[in-house]
Symmetry: C2
């Protein structure tokens, strides 16, 4: 409790400890999140996504500089699949972003995947809500940008920026990645490279959303990108009905995710303690019962066995 009060008073150490509780899926979340939820809705949430090597981190670095120039408080959440080498954290990006290491108004956090499907998406959304409640003006969520879970995480962003590079592969590959569906703004980064304009042309044939060319490493195009993000955010606010529908879908999605995720946790726990489930799991693992017949037994049985 004390932690939450401290966090609301601007204590970053308390914030960090609350994030750790979320990452560890502490049962305390059910006490914490209702308090957090009440204080959310003020931050501008920007999603930055795209294939590895597109220069997302460099672009975010430039955006942070811009926001800091405007005296804004910024939080960055980088989502990454777990790696035995990085321990789930983004060492490389941390290094790149260290220009802001001494700036107390910039908060950078990496989240590693925890193996469970629902877990990553849920934890990400919870941390974003926490940042929002803490009082950050701008929250940037960075994902690798190819992959179903990673795309679904972007639901939480008001504006999603998809960063590509001329070498991102041909246009069909771009569509494959499902990026067209979630993008509000396209950025063709490393625009000094050959084929940059050609990629922009190809994209413009597929979509009517803004397509910018940037050179993040030289800070070319950052200001223009920020203008486009603001434009998108303002047009969303003006379109009350669309915004309300988006929020409803978001809340419904989060609710479904939490309940299903908790069910899965209970099931896993019960597989070690409940006599009926223990036997069933062992039969499935040994191969003496196929997982479908076994699943049907769980579904048909009184649910109390997995409570």
């Amino acid at each position: 409790m004390n932690l939450v009060q401290k966090m609301f008073k601007g204590d970053k150490r308390a914030l960090t400890r609350l994030i750790t509780l979320i990452e560890n899926q502490s049962p305390f979340i059910f006490e914490l999140m209702p308090k957090i939820y009440r204080k959310t809705g003020k931050a501008q949430i920007i999603g930055i996504t795209g294939p590895p090597g597109a220069g997302k981190s460099t672009l975010i670095d430039q955006l942070i500089k811009l926001f800091r120039h405007q005296k804004k408080q910024v939080a960055i959440l980088a989502i990454d699949p777990s790696s035995p080498f990085s321990g789930g954290a983004v060492l490389g990006d941390r290094i790149r972003m260290q220009s802001h290491a001494g700036d107390s108004s910039v908060f950078i956090r990496s989240v590693g995947s925890r193996g469970s499907h629902g877990g990553l998406s849920r934890a990400t959304k919870e941390i974003v809500r926490l940042f929002d409640a803490f009082g950050f003006d701008i929250i940037i969520v960075e994902t690798v940008g190819v992959g179903q879970t990673e795309l679904s995480i972007m639901e939480i962003a008001q504006t999603t920026v998809v960063v590509l590079v001329p070498e991102s592969g041909d246009t069909i590959q771009t569509m494959k990645a499902g990026l067209l569906e979630i993008a509000n703004i396209f950025v063709v980064n490393k625009s000094d490279r050959p084929d940059s304009s050609e990629l922009k042309r190809q994209l413009s044939e597929m979509t009517s959303i803004p397509i910018l060319q940037t050179q993040a490493i030289k800070d070319v195009g950052t200001q223009e990108l920020w203008e486009k993000i603001k434009e998108h955010s303002e047009s969303l606010k003006k379109n009350n009905k669309e915004l309300e529908l988006k929020r409803k879908a978001e809340r419904r999605g989060e609710f479904l995710e939490i309940v299903t995720n908790e069910y899965e946790k209970k099931l896993k726990l019960a597989s070690h303690t409940d006599k009926f489930l223990k036997k069933l799991f062992s039969e499935v693992e040994e191969g003496s019962k196929d997982p479908y017949s076994a699943a049907l037994e769980v579904i048909n049985k009184n649910k109390s066995s997995i409570d």
Copy 2:
């Protein structure tokens, strides 16, 4: 029922219709899959994954030629995030693979993501089991390769090949993608390009698994890749204990996935029909109740309400 019998007799049209039933999450799956499961375990399942534009499809194309030369029956399952343009299917790859269109021993299928997290992974595994039961000698599963869901799909493959290109980004980006964890073999494709050997060198510092250099478009390295796949597969077979552990984890994972997925489906259905849940969902959507407090109500309530 007739469909299943026809499928076991080698009827490809029946196979196609069963795949559609799986994609549509028909309740018939619970009748179908136990029958299928009994006949599985013979196929060699190879996962091919890597970032967009790495040349996975071209490499697969060359592998198919090799397998066909050996008179093997081959099935390819390409997993792709849904796209409003492709309708969930991989138009580009289909075009590329059309060299095998007239070959009745090569079966190519694309699966689009269906929005639901658990759904894609589950459907993929079900279709692979179906291919196995049908009698294909080799099943190739291709995913985009960056993303949590896509990585977890690779659990079903005996051997996972990760395809990279010199431009795949720096080494840190590779680790970020979580690919090192699932790779059994690395392929540096487009090896005529600059930095190919440098990428191989960097990878060799991080891992002791085989790293091959290929030029898929010129069929350079395909035979060597196949040798390495066989070596990996045979070493796995020799190590009975490891193989058995892998199978147990696979079966346990599939079982958990099915039960949780069915629970989620029931919950969604009940959100429209069950009085208690209908009210709760509407309160969450309107924002008058936060999703955590609402989830706690569902969890604490007698589970019969969502049966």
